[in-house]
Symmetry: C2
Subunit: 238 residues, 2 copies
């Protein structure tokens, strides 16, 4: 933004004398909800590997909520935008760089942090787990979150992120952030099903999704599977 | 939220000794982008009154940006949730009570306020201007915002809100917050057109919108107009 120019001497004095410490202290954090679809290896070699929707968590090593799981996140520093803060935090806590993120929601409940009032601006990302090099963080099946000790209101933030993602996958192209360059129709349908938490009818799915796909002309060659056509994502032809 | 219980004496001491003033001061505000469709009276009595998309603004009476227009908003107080803060601020600055709002986006640019670092959590609302009793605030045609002196990054916030509203009106029912109980198809189509900023084809519009509407069995009786069927909103029949 352009540097603000006071309109007159009176305003100059007002700004010079303004006391930023007049308000009760509040801190701002960013937290990242990073989703990926990961294959759970199956013994049945003829079956499409089972996949599940996972979220990236870190284990806290300090108070409060020590040893609990939390979203990767941290305090926004002076002079840092939310996006800068998010990328710095993700690099430090998960090893991820240049993560494409969208703002999800800002959580401002009064007692959500026992240290002081902390406002958290949460971001959501969808990643291709095969490309993402992770360190010090763990992919956790979203269906197993309830079995973990979670820090702060992060379980709630993850639920909100899942709702948002479900709302968005049918009218945006965000899902392709999770896909490899080339994929089969069944693989894509399974990703949709894992996100939506329900089975889809193949013919209807293929009809609606086809305008976002391009046939690569190639086929899969995995032993044990019947060869399947490989597609790639193209921006909607409409 | 449940009151946090420290896990041990060490954590108890950690929390007791935690210094919330260790961070550079930051303040949090809420700002409301309130949209309404208002009729601009026309001289042509046979024509459907022209309407335009308006946003509710207040004139600032103190530094900074004194005498500029801004969104109604204010500082979030200690112990106050964002939603509480929003309703209190709206009541004080516009007279509106119980406004249905959704969080839009949180604006955290470092220099957006010349007083200190101020994070603004913006909310979006759609109102039926005929029902809304406003005081000390003005409905401004969104196409005339650029002609006004606007405070802070509020012009930018309004643009973001318009984008969000355009994205949402086709797959949610938010538009009906702006409509009276009963309305004609032409009135509804005009509201869509004002929000989208483009003309729609009547047959296509009627086809897609019909599942959200119920025929009241009544007709308009305005002199000078051909009588039109009156509809009301019903939750999607699907």
């Amino acid at each position: 933004m352009q540097k603000y120019k006071p309109s007159c001497k009176e305003e100059q004095d007002f700004l010079r004398d303004y006391n930023p410490n007049q308000f009760p202290p509040v801190a701002v954090t960013v937290d990242a909800v990073i989703f990926g679809i990961e294959k759970d290896n199956t013994d049945n070699y003829r079956k499409l590997d089972e996949q599940s929707l996972k979220v990236l968590l870190v284990k806290r090593d300090s108070y409060p909520y020590k040893d609990c799981y939390s979203l990767p996140g941290g305090f926004v520093l002076a002079g840092e935008t939310f996006e800068d803060s998010l990328q710095r935090t993700l690099k430090n806590k998960t090893g991820l760089t240049n993560v494409y993120s969208e703002q999800l929601y800002t959580f401002g409940e009064v007692d959500r942090d026992p240290r002081m009032r902390v406002i958290s601006c949460a971001y959501i990302s969808l990643l291709d787990t095969r490309k993402a090099k992770i360190k010090d963080a763990t992919w956790v099946d979203v269906n197993h979150i309830k079995e973990l000790k979670m820090a702060f209101d992060h379980e709630n933030i993850i639920e909100e992120a899942i709702r948002r993602m479900r709302g968005k996958i049918n009218y945006t192209d965000i899902v392709f952030h999770m896909m490899p360059e080339e994929f089969t129709m069944s693989e894509l349908q399974q990703v949709y099903e894992k996100i939506l938490g329900e089975k889809l009818l193949a013919p209807a799915f293929r009809r609606t999704i086809s305008e976002k796909l391009e046939d690569t002309g190639k086929m899969t060659g995995n032993a044990g599977h019947r060869p399947s056509r490989l597609f790639r994502y193209v921006k909607s032809k409409k």
